[in-house]
Symmetry: C2
Subunit: 504 residues, 2 copies
């Protein structure tokens, strides 16, 4: 028998089915849900809502919602609602294939903003009233306090601002997660803001549970379901090479006295390359490391377990089934080393700058001068979104962008004359790494940046082409500060669209 997770009798009385709860959401509502990189999202109500939307559509009735979350969720949420054509507007980050297709077909409005901006923009009133919040928790305490599950995201803001609240209590989530969270209740609107009293990445500055006015809670739904499975893919050779270049650079910076021996708090994106970096760090000999990041994935659990990483601060998880089992099995160990925060704190510019985070993020492409495109394929087709990369790139101690030098079987160069979309400007990008090598752009003027990127990062198949463009641009460009030949600057992208390859 599972132990009762709903200890507040008032709220236990409000337990209903997912269908009943979903029926409380009306067409046209702005609905704010929990969820960050596939963890801690509601498991039942969105699917029930999607069915109700489909039924409405079958009867010729319009039914769409505006959907806000922490970040990406899962097929049961973004996927189900997108397939049902139930989303009119989506904010702030998603990675669902069905939603992505609708966005790029022009059927779904998507607003891609810095994750550190989301909560404050909603508080500013830019998204109107939040009608309903749908929040997964791991338990409800006797006093009604809500114990978050495996992500925090914007849940505090959603609970504070929503007119009505639906809670999913998921007893698949480990009860031992209670105590891992740190919910900061000191945010405010200007001019009432105060310094955030966090000086080390593992400081606790808040409470272990979320508050919510019980009168707003209109339904409680019991669920028992896993977070999105993130199957672990073995680390490939390219990712290992990229990781090797980055770690050698970090060790070199330590040797030069420009970084402490235990580095500075790491921020790491999600995926194969970040996992390779984490695996490389495990073998690097570095010790006493820390993470102040958004998401904890498999490699970070391993670093905690092996004692290489002292602690990790995050707002969500992205674990493989095996890593999730390990997490549950040793939850007491991890609870002492992991602090889960709201995403306005995990990504806060004040804290990222103060702590001096080392940002490590993926990219789609960079140009010669270090402008980085993180979001748009060929300038118009969005992949996922900017997420928190900008929060760390702008304000951290180091902003590194990592990518294989080519994509799509070598037909696309990740180094292009001019990027087709800019998410991180030349002013915010310090290190570019591909499997070919690492370009340290810090303290370099534009033409020297180009030289470094071409020489160290470009794939040999594209290096001469880039060099040729750059040489001719240096000769013929209108200005020689950031040389460009405008008729050619985006021609590689168009060539790929026309011929399937950026190669001439």
């Amino acid at each position: 028998m599972s132990v009762e997770r709903i200890l507040d009798a008032r709220l236990r009385d409000r337990v209903v089915s997912a269908e009943h709860a979903a029926a409380l959401i009306q067409p046209g509502e702005t609905v704010a849900m929990s969820g960050f990189t596939g963890s801690g999202y509601p498991k039942a109500v969105p699917m029930a809502l999607a069915r109700q939307i489909e039924q409405a559509h079958q009867q010729g009735q319009p039914f769409q919602i505006k959907l806000l979350t922490g970040a990406s969720t899962a097929p049961e949420l973004d996927g189900a609602l997108a397939k049902a054509d139930g989303i009119a507007m989506r904010m702030p980050f998603q990675s669902d294939p069905d939603a992505r297709k609708r966005i790029n077909d022009g059927m779904l409005d998507y607003i891609d903003i810095h994750l550190s901006h989301v909560a404050q923009h909603v508080w500013f009133g830019l998204y109107g009233q939040i009608d309903t919040a749908v929040i997964e928790v791991s338990a409800i305490r006797e006093d009604g306090a809500l114990v978050p599950s495996t992500s925090v995201g914007n849940n505090k803001t959603w609970l504070d601002l929503a007119r009505k609240v639906i809670i999913e209590v998921n007893d698949w989530q480990p009860a031992g997660v209670d105590g891992m969270h740190d919910i900061y209740y000191g945010t405010a609107l200007p001019p009432q803001r105060r310094p955030i009293p966090l000086v080390q990445g593992n400081d606790r500055i808040g409470e272990t549970a979320l508050r919510c006015d019980p009168d707003k809670i209109v339904a409680v739904v019991r669920t028992h379901g896993p977070d999105r499975n993130s199957p672990f893919t073995p680390i490939d050779a390219t990712s290992e090479q990229i990781a090797g270049h980055l770690i050698a650079f970090l060790q070199h910076e330590v040797a030069r006295g420009r970084l402490p021996a235990n580095l500075l708090p790491l921020q790491s994106g999600v995926g194969n390359i970040p996992n390779a970096v984490l695996a490389g760090l495990a073998k690097s000999g570095l010790r006493g490391l820390s993470a102040f990041t958004e998401v904890i994935q498999d490699g970070m659990l391993e670093l905690l377990k092996s004692g290489v990483l002292d602690y990790a601060s995050c707002t969500g998880f992205a674990l493989s089934p095996d890593a999730n089992e390990e997490f549950k099995r040793n939850i007491d160990f991890y609870r002492r080393r992991i602090i889960m925060r709201t995403q306005e704190i995990s990504n806060h510019p004040e804290l990222v700058r103060r702590l001096g985070c080392i940002g490590m993020n993926g990219m789609i492409e960079t140009d010669l001068y270090g402008n980085v495109n993180s979001t748009h394929v060929m300038g118009s087709r969005i992949m996922n979104g900017i997420g928190g990369s900008g929060d760390f790139a702008r304000n951290g101690f180091l902003s590194t962008f990592l990518s294989p030098s080519t994509a799509k079987n070598g037909t696309i160069s990740s180094i292009v004359p001019m990027v087709s979309h800019v998410d991180h400007t030349e002013h915010d990008v310090s290190i570019i790494v591909t499997e070919q090598g690492l370009a340290d752009l810090r303290g370099l003027p534009p033409r020297a940046r180009a030289r470094a990127v071409i020489d160290h990062c470009a794939h040999p198949d594209f290096r001469d082409l880039l060099d040729d463009y750059f040489q001719r641009a240096c000769r013929d460009s209108y200005g020689k500060h950031t040389p460009h030949l405008l008729p050619e600057a985006l021609s590689w992208h168009q060539r790929w669209l026309d011929t399937g390859s950026m190669k001439p």
Copy 2:
């Protein structure tokens, strides 16, 4: 008789001529000078240095320096050294015509970074050792403390880090400036950083003078010269229209309860449009305003004098001769209302976000989706630099970008299909204003942003062309999230280069 400004006898003994002081600077040195928007820069040593460089060049000897400042300076500094071909590398912001020409001819390496990043990047070691600092002050106290003059910029950092220091004591600067400065000595490198204890824009958190190890001061030079003259140009009709749209919007936000009645601290760029905004604010009926900005120009003095503005925090001045006389005449009044800070504090992301600044900056162009180019004409030719615009655009409560809708006698549209260079991404730009109107891009997905920019901001001569591009892009673009036609995206810029007009 002027009153002695050098009260420390040790330093009075080190008074030498500008020529003698300049001779202490060797070829190849990294030289860090005071100066921000033409205020508080050294008046004599750079000219003497330029002459020595010219003499060396006449004798066939190479002589160049790497030059760091706060921001732009004046003909006696950037101009003289650029004309002498004495600058190998320049950082972080300049606006001198001679230097600009050399930069765009590819003769002078220029590194354009966020003003809030300058001090920390030098502390990080990205620019090597600072060999010599050349700093203008208004006085030296008995204990050797240095009273800044009309800008602070990076002077604290330069004095802390330079191997040797040359001080210019300029008795043209008002003695009454003593007490106006607030030099914060609480910065540190991560992981030693702490919260910056500033919660209101006029809080004092530091000292009124700069510290400097007297053993490092190798020369003191007496000067008597004015800051760069910024002649006041009467406000033109276009600027007045732009200001009118912006102020009406701010009042509308107050009426909707989204801004306090006294707004939030204003940040204002320099020039005719910002002056028009300030003049408009004077007549707006708004009261109790404040400024947390980089530069105080004429209009802001007037707002202080009329009592519309309670206080202004800055790091430098840009005054016309008349306004400067007013400033000197009523220095006691202004000293109670103006706080001058280091530029790492005036532009600090932590503070800009906490205070919720309203950023108001110029731009060269924006594209349909709100990506802003602040620096590069036709994508390759730098105008001035990004300055502090990014510090405020990213972290403030509002980021507004202001520009006439056309330039160069109507041949250039400030609204283009795709910007030729990006300094502020779509994620960081909330409001676009031209004399045609205002586009509020907050909370809008890309295609709705395009609609707003075309309809509200584009000049009638270009509106149909933009609309045509956008419609065709929505139909034919690879992705429909941010529709673009890559072969045409930069064609307007190339057409201007080819024909002298963006019009077909």
